[in-house]
């Protein structure tokens, strides 16, 4: 299986990439690790005439801390994120989600920006990026804008990225000391994609009650989402098994669950409830009052 013919361009800087995007318009696609795009091109689901490789732009691969935020370059590979000591120390939930993606070969090539812009409904990263309230920076000619994770995923494989824009980095506030988190997924046994994946992040107050909870869910619906009903059912409550089970039971409420040959929508909804319960339990076990 070969991709169709295209011209290959290697961008030296973000400005260079934006210039190329402007020149070639709808005929161009940005190439990062290529682990979503190249398979689509082999199947002729995508046939760009121009590929603009952004992986040689150093700032797009960097992981750094600045002004109290952790900044991940969009072209950082999953394996790099999963093993970065900065990410493991301060954004453990993101490292956990990165380590759960596909297999080691995929993690060595696939990138966080590629995964987010592709917006596969079964991708792992979106659940964690939603729970961590990541801020996604989109560069465009003459400037940039920042989109909150909650506003980024619009529909099945559809994001807030507009034509001519480039996702350059994602920034996060570090996870507060004492907060607990967990990413739990049921991987598709062949592809490793999440049949369902749930990222939970919560803090306990001094009495051991749940002060705040954030829950991101992937795999269940056409796009990843924050399970706000679950979060509301946890906030201010004691972190006992009955409360967690009752909250997790709301995970699929109001969601048009996907059904396919691998899992019916009813089964996926049940998986989501079970994995939400497990993720919240694991996060509570890790949190310190």
């Amino acid at each position: 299986m070969y991709p169709g013919q295209f011209e290959y361009h290697r961008a030296a800087s973000i400005k260079d990439a934006l210039d190329l995007l402007k020149r070639y318009g709808d005929d161009a696609k940005l190439l990062s690790g290529g682990h979503s795009l190249i398979p689509m091109m082999k199947l002729r689901l995508a046939q760009p005439a121009h590929l603009i490789d952004v992986t040689k732009i150093a700032e797009m691969r960097a992981i750094s801390e600045s002004n109290g935020k952790i900044v991940i370059g969009a072209a950082a590979a999953h394996d790099t994120v999963a093993n970065s000591s900065l990410v493991r120390d301060k954004l453990g939930l993101l490292a956990e989600a990165a380590a759960a993606i596909g297999d080691v070969q995929v993690r060595n090539r696939g990138t966080i920006g590629g995964s987010l812009t592709h917006a596969d409904p079964a991708a792992d990263y979106p659940a964690a990026v939603l729970a961590l309230e990541g801020e996604i920076k989109l560069e465009r000619e003459g400037g940039s804008r920042t989109v909150k994770a909650a506003d980024f995923f619009l529909d099945l494989m559809t994001t807030a990225v507009q034509p001519g824009e480039l996702l350059s980095q994602i920034s996060f506030a570090p996870i507060p000391a004492g907060a607990g988190y967990s990413y739990q997924k049921y991987p598709h046994p062949a592809s490793g994609f999440a049949m369902v994946g749930v990222a939970a992040l919560l803090s306990l107050d001094r009495s051991g009650k749940i002060a705040s909870a954030r829950v991101g869910v992937t795999g269940l619906g056409p796009k990843a989402f924050r399970a706000s009903a679950v979060e509301a059912a946890l906030a201010g409550k004691s972190a006992d098994a009955a409360t967690i089970a009752a909250a997790a039971a709301k995970t699929a409420d109001g969601i048009d669950a996907l059904g396919d040959i691998h899992a019916s929508s009813e089964y996926r909804a049940e998986l989501a409830r079970v994995y939400a319960r497990r993720a919240i339990q694991a996060a509570v076990a890790r949190a310190k009052a």
Binding site: M1, Y2, P3, G4, Q5, F6, E7, Y8, R10, L31, G34, H35, I38, P39, K42, L51, D53, T55, D79, G102, D103, V104, Q105, V106, N108, R109, A190, S191, G192
Partner: protein, 158 residues
């Protein structure tokens, strides 16, 4: 377009089509047919090679993306006429039957052994998740990696 890369320690410079996949570059341009074409869809791992030391599925990498990089294929494992410990492991522990998945298995195992010198069985299974074998049932492959790890630790005096 022209690409310059190092394959098994040898610098190369070739004029190629941008759409040429790394696996086809290695097999058809460099003449190294040890890297196998399997599923062609990033699932089976038969085409695994090391790209700057990290295991990648070469059916899902464009050769132009490897420009400037160093690639190691199964042909690059043996040194000075002596097998790499992972090759010894597959030989001694009967880690293959038909052999189709073997080059990819070995390259993924080499990535693992570059990260950890004493992997547990669980860690080995996790590291080989991206490589499918339809013959062995995996048990002998696990043993082959354990054999290699032990031999490499002994050689390093650990």
């Amino acid at each position: 377009m022209r690409v310059n890369l190092t394959v098994n320690g040898q610098p190369r410079s070739d004029e190629i089509e941008p759409r040429l996949l790394l696996v086809h570059y290695l097999r058809d341009v460099a003449g190294l047919t040890g890297t196998h074409v399997g599923c062609e869809s990033t699932l089976c791992g038969a085409c695994t090679v090391l790209l700057d030391g990290k295991a990648v599925k070469s059916c899902t990498v464009l050769a132009v993306q490897a420009d400037g990089a160093s690639v190691t294929t199964v042909e690059g494992l043996a040194k000075d006429g002596k097998f790499h410990p992972i090759q010894d492991g597959f030989w001694e522990e009967h880690g293959l039957q038909c052999g189709y998945c073997t080059p990819g298995m070995m390259m993924a195992a080499v990535d693992l052994l570059s990260r950890t010198t004493n992997p547990s069985e669980d860690e080995i299974r996790h590291a080989l998740e991206g490589n499918l074998c339809r013959c062995t049932g995996y048990q002998h492959i696990i043993k082959a990696v354990q054999y290699a790890a032990e031999k490499m630790r002994a050689a390093a005096g650990r």
